[in-house]
Symmetry: C2
């Protein structure tokens, strides 16, 4: 399944399962770091701030609307940053 | 399903379905941009270079080992950046 179809299915399932209005502009940044060599440093936590900073150069981001979820395993870590974007008036000029 | 379990399942399925040695250090950056307001600009293509630049500040990246897949729909776009990382000797000093 392509990522476009994956996220579309995921969005539609979330919308179907909830009567809340989920129709918002939203950005999700998901990072997975697979480490065969356990000696490799897990740098996701450090990278997080810089990635959000990149996003804020393209669209106005309300820090209260940024959700971060870091999961760390011995050989795999994932970082999920979910940003609800303001309406069109929030566009960068 | 948590993102950690999602990527673990996906990695294990890929490994099971192939006799190639998939055991490599790998970083996947997946970004989805949901746009309710179609007027919102699709800024993923522009953001791509900056995101890879952030990663290269943390780990040595061979440009030949970076795969980018951009999919664009009217209301949803996804950008997948897959980076095969060098062995531990490739660590940044």
């Amino acid at each position: 399944m392509s990522w476009l179809n994956f996220f579309r299915t995921r969005r539609d399932e979330a919308a179907a399962g909830s009567n809340a209005n989920l129709a918002k502009d939203r950005l999700q940044v998901i990072i997975s770091h697979e480490r065969v060599s356990r000696t490799r440093e897990d740098f996701l936590p450090k990278m997080q701030q810089e990635l959000v900073a990149v996003v804020t150069r393209y669209v106005a981001v309300d820090p209260d609307k940024v959700q971060v979820n870091l999961e760390r395993g011995a050989d795999l870590s994932t970082l999920a940053i979910e940003i609800e974007l303001p309406g069109p008036k929030g566009k960068l000029t």
